[in-house]
């Protein structure tokens, strides 16, 4: 019995001590909690504001830089650049003889492999290898090296004489004309500043610039088509 009483008293004393201790412990916490939270909140707000401002400043600066670089690019791109060349575009690179050419993909109509089906037409000029039927349409197949030699009035290069039979025919817009070529390389995205544009020239108007990284001529398909169709109409 006595043991039980002593254990009960001890427990009460212990509980009271813990309660008082807890009260004593809570006082400082209660005193400093709110200001610290406020300070934290203020600091967080300031940090957020600063970060937001910086992000805004950075985004403004980035926007300025992008805007400025776009302006510089636009200034560098000549006014008589084809419409498709005023923004990044996909270009197909292909080999004609020893020459690599590039053409904007959007101006091409496909690639044919049936080169052994090219029919030579009696009286063909050297610029045409012949014709091929594709989806019910007659495609005139160009020997590009002979064509540029004729158009530019320059003699055919030795590479032209050694032109091997074509492996591919690159159809140009509309599909009525195809350029015979040995290899079709790849399609790459090219930006307006990747090209050294030609301007104000009447010589070789069918090529509008050089793709500097590849050092190859970029064809102006629209001009080439116009020349060929005009000559075809008159021929």
């Amino acid at each position: 019995m006595n043991d039980k009483k002593e254990r009960g008293l001890a427990t009460q004393e212990k509980a009271l001590t813990q309660y008082l201790d807890s009260l004593l412990m809570e006082i400082p916490e209660a005193t400093f909690d709110e200001p610290v939270t406020e300070l934290k909140t203020s600091a967080e707000n300031i940090a957020e504001v600063v970060v937001e401002q910086r992000v805004t400043e950075v985004s403004d600066t980035a926007a300025d830089i992008i805007h400025q670089s776009a302006a510089v690019e636009a200034a560098n791109v000549a006014n008589d650049t084809p419409v498709w060349g005023k923004r990044p575009f996909k270009a197909l690179f292909f080999n004609v003889g020893e020459i690599t050419l590039a053409a904007p993909l959007e101006k091409l109509g496909g690639i044919l492999t049936e080169c052994d089906e090219i029919k030579v037409i009696p009286g063909n000029t050297a610029r045409y290898l012949g014709v091929i039927l594709h989806r019910g349409q007659t495609v005139r197949v160009i020997n590009f090296e002979h064509l540029v030699a004729e158009l530019s009035g320059e003699p055919l290069s030795s590479a032209g004489d050694a032109l091997l039979p074509p492996n591919r025919i690159v159809l140009i817009e509309g599909g009525s004309i195809g350029i015979a070529c040995r290899h079709v390389d790849e399609v790459e995205t090219v930006g307006p500043t990747d090209i050294r544009w030609r301007s104000g020239t009447t010589k070789r108007p069918w090529y509008c610039g050089i793709v500097v990284a590849k050092m190859c001529a970029l064809l102006d398909i629209d001009v080439l088509l116009t020349i060929l169709n005009e000559e075809h109409a008159h021929g």
Partner: protein, 158 residues
Amino acid sequence: MNQKAVNPQDEVLQWVTFKLEGEAYGINVMQVQEVLRVSEITPVPGAPAYILGIINLRGNVVTVLDTRMRFGLSVYETDDASRVVIVESKGNVLGILVDSVAEVVYLRSSEIETAPNVGNDESSKYIQGVYSNEGNLLILVDVNKLLSNDEWQEVAEF
């Protein structure tokens, strides 16, 4: 003492000398930007025969002249000694292919003779003068006249 009186107007010019088919030629050093080993020269479709092609010179497209053809000399395969001399004229930059580059020589204006009129060949108009020393002849080329105005313009558009 055998001292010559020096004319203050007798300026000394520096000439970069190079070889073509065994003959020595010189071009004014002020018009030479640099001398390059022959790298890949990309042919340009429809280009005039005297243009070999284009090279990429640190991101810039430079047209290369077939100097032998321009001078009416025989065709020559390039070798290790061949060089492309980058010259500047009329605001345009042009590469001229030569068999080899020799040295830089200093010549007084008074030592340069006018080009002898030995024919009406087109090539003779490119010659500014000649310098002879102990039987050796140095033909001085006028870079500005290597191409006509139209040709310079065309070169700029490659």
